[in-house]
Subunit: 356 residues, 2 copies
């Protein structure tokens, strides 16, 4: 694998990222937020690569979003000095590392319960104060306080806790249609906080699929999104982009044609992952729209060709657009970038595998 | 993370493997095959660790089974000298590496079509001959020739090709009930080959879930299985073992309790994977049999507690038995082993991420 190599000569299975498509994706989304005069904070989970985050910052993004302390450490080491970690952080060893990060960069975290806030407060009292946002559940049914009243109570608790600054509200909305709920949650909470004389300067909204609906949450000051940088099949389904806007393609080879209607490729769950993300098959094969990747084992992908007029031959190279690009990134130690099918760079996926 | 550390003080999420449970699993399966006087060849995909494969060999296993050339390279480097690669191998660079392996160890591969055989023959003509088995589809609907007649035709083609020795038949059966089909496929093919005067010394059967039915395929000379070494929830479902026989547990922390019936853990798809393997939820939580991990995002696991009498608190450490252990191994750079809850060793997962 080397710079200048044609990507169709790479050993398969392998994900490759088109530099130009990625650049267009970055520019398009940044322009939308610039137009609206809203801060945009890319989530690094999609690429896990400082070099790509630098392109996002150069385009105008304000800082980055990480999900774990270990990710933030990788990016802080590479010079990123404005990081939001959108996860409840617990445990003394992790809190010590968080404190070290907060001493060197502009750091913010979230919390959705008092146990987490009390842990943060114990770790940061007597040190550089930590900025904390309250995570709100606006319909995604994951983390988050359930009501504006709960948000206010937790904000008050943060406000009154040593070592912490209450800085605002954060939500990760449901895949689609969450904007009115988030807007109501934010504005109601802000009004209640204002009554108590508590500032709420940041309201951060997020998600890739509904990204171009961010203007429907006018109370938000910031948007976070990750997947848009590469795009994937789920983003096409949500109407966010076309298949041509998918910068990451997975190159895979047909290794068997056991029957007239079955092909087997060398991309299995170790490449494509079992992440259906609402689909009933495991990726979109470019050039074979009627082929369906119906099952995966670790190194095999089984394709049903029964609806296809043209059928791929043994040895043929296929390009698959994955259902969900972020989880593919996490499986590969290196990511290959290309322009017009020639390798431009090969990057170690610096924050791959970090869950701590 | 260090030797002697209590596992309940490790940063979560993290998979840990109980040395004693693993040793019992290895001994139990080896005893079954010893009793039957059948070769047993463990598949390394489950652990991807030379140190564990050495325990399997020490117990009496005959060689190892890899799925990719890159895996075989890792294990050959560590001294393993009898390796079967059960995948159609294509491409000049990979075939060169295969040739290098075949020059140093006892190597066997499989093929299910003439394109692959012709590639192998071109690469090995004039070199140390390569042993090739014909892969047969006995109901798993993945790779494999479809009928004994196809098997014979491909065996003849291998037999007549330069650089190759036809050595027998291989099948990866369906999850359950495949034994009679495999037995019929093997015996019919052997009879037809005998008529043509072609030796078929190896018939290798495989799979973990139905492992203890291997005696129902008396024509087999060898069995291959991987998952049995750690076991997992799917193996419990198939009646192969109990939850107490699952050597790999995933330690994870409850980070949120947003509602009375919802908990969120720090193990998401980057830890548990989205591999449902026939279940409708993402793992079995020890001590909370009525809790269901209903959805995963990359770093969050959402648990439905509505059926639970006792409910875990924020900060509580949970032990999850994954649906499928092999895919978890592929996500972590290091694996932690323990005995009675104290870390015994921390191993780099040497063959993690290898797909080439």
């Amino acid at each position: 694998m080397k710079i200048g190599q044609k990507i169709d000569t790479l050993l398969t299975p392998i994900p490759v990222v088109d530099e130009d498509v990625m650049a267009t994706n970055i520019a398009r989304v940044q322009a939308y937020f610039d137009e609206m005069d809203r801060d945009f904070r890319p989530h690094i989970k999609t690429h896990k690569l400082p070099s790509v985050a630098k392109l996002q910052i150069a385009a105008g993004a304000r800082g980055i979003n990480c999900q774990k302390v270990s990710e933030a450490e990788v990016f802080a080491e590479e010079g990123f000095d404005d990081i939001l970690i959108t996860f409840n952080i617990m445990g003394s060893e992790r809190l010590e590392r968080l404190r070290a990060l907060n001493d060197t960069i502009k750091l913010r975290v979230v919390a959705d319960n008092e146990v987490v806030v009390d842990g943060l407060s114990a770790a940061f009292t007597g040190h550089e104060p930590l900025d904390v946002l309250v995570e709100c559940d606006t319909g995604a049914k994951r983390n988050g306080v359930q009501t504006p009243d709960e948000a206010v109570a937790l904000a008050m608790h943060i406000h009154e806790s040593g070592g912490l600054n209450f800085m605002g509200l954060m939500t990760y909305p449901p895949k689609s249609g969450g904007e009115p709920v988030a807007e109501r949650f934010f504005t109601e909470t802000m009004a209640k906080l204002a009554e108590k004389g508590i500032d709420c300067p940041i309201r951060t909204f997020g998600g890739s699929p509904s990204l171009f609906n961010a203007h429907l949450v006018p109370s938000a000051t910031e948007h976070r999104a990750g997947t848009y940088v590469y795009n994937d099949r789920s983003m096409v389904r949500e109407g966010h982009c076309t298949f041509d806007d998918c910068a990451m393609n997975i190159l895979t080879t047909v290794v068997s044609r056991p029957t007239a209607d079955r092909a087997v490729i060398d991309a299995g769950s170790k490449t494509l992952t079992q992440d259906l993300i609402g689909f009933t098959d495991f990726g979109y094969i470019r050039g074979y729209p009627d082929a369906r990747i119906v099952s995966l084992s670790e190194e095999h992908g089984v394709i049903d060709l029964s609806a296809c007029e043209d059928k791929p031959e043994i040895g043929e190279l296929l390009r698959v657009i994955p259902n969900h690009t972020c989880v593919v990134t996490n499986l590969f130690d290196r990511m290959v970038f290309h322009r017009d099918g020639m390798v431009t760079r090969i990057e170690d996926v610096a924050a791959r595998g970090t869950v701590w």
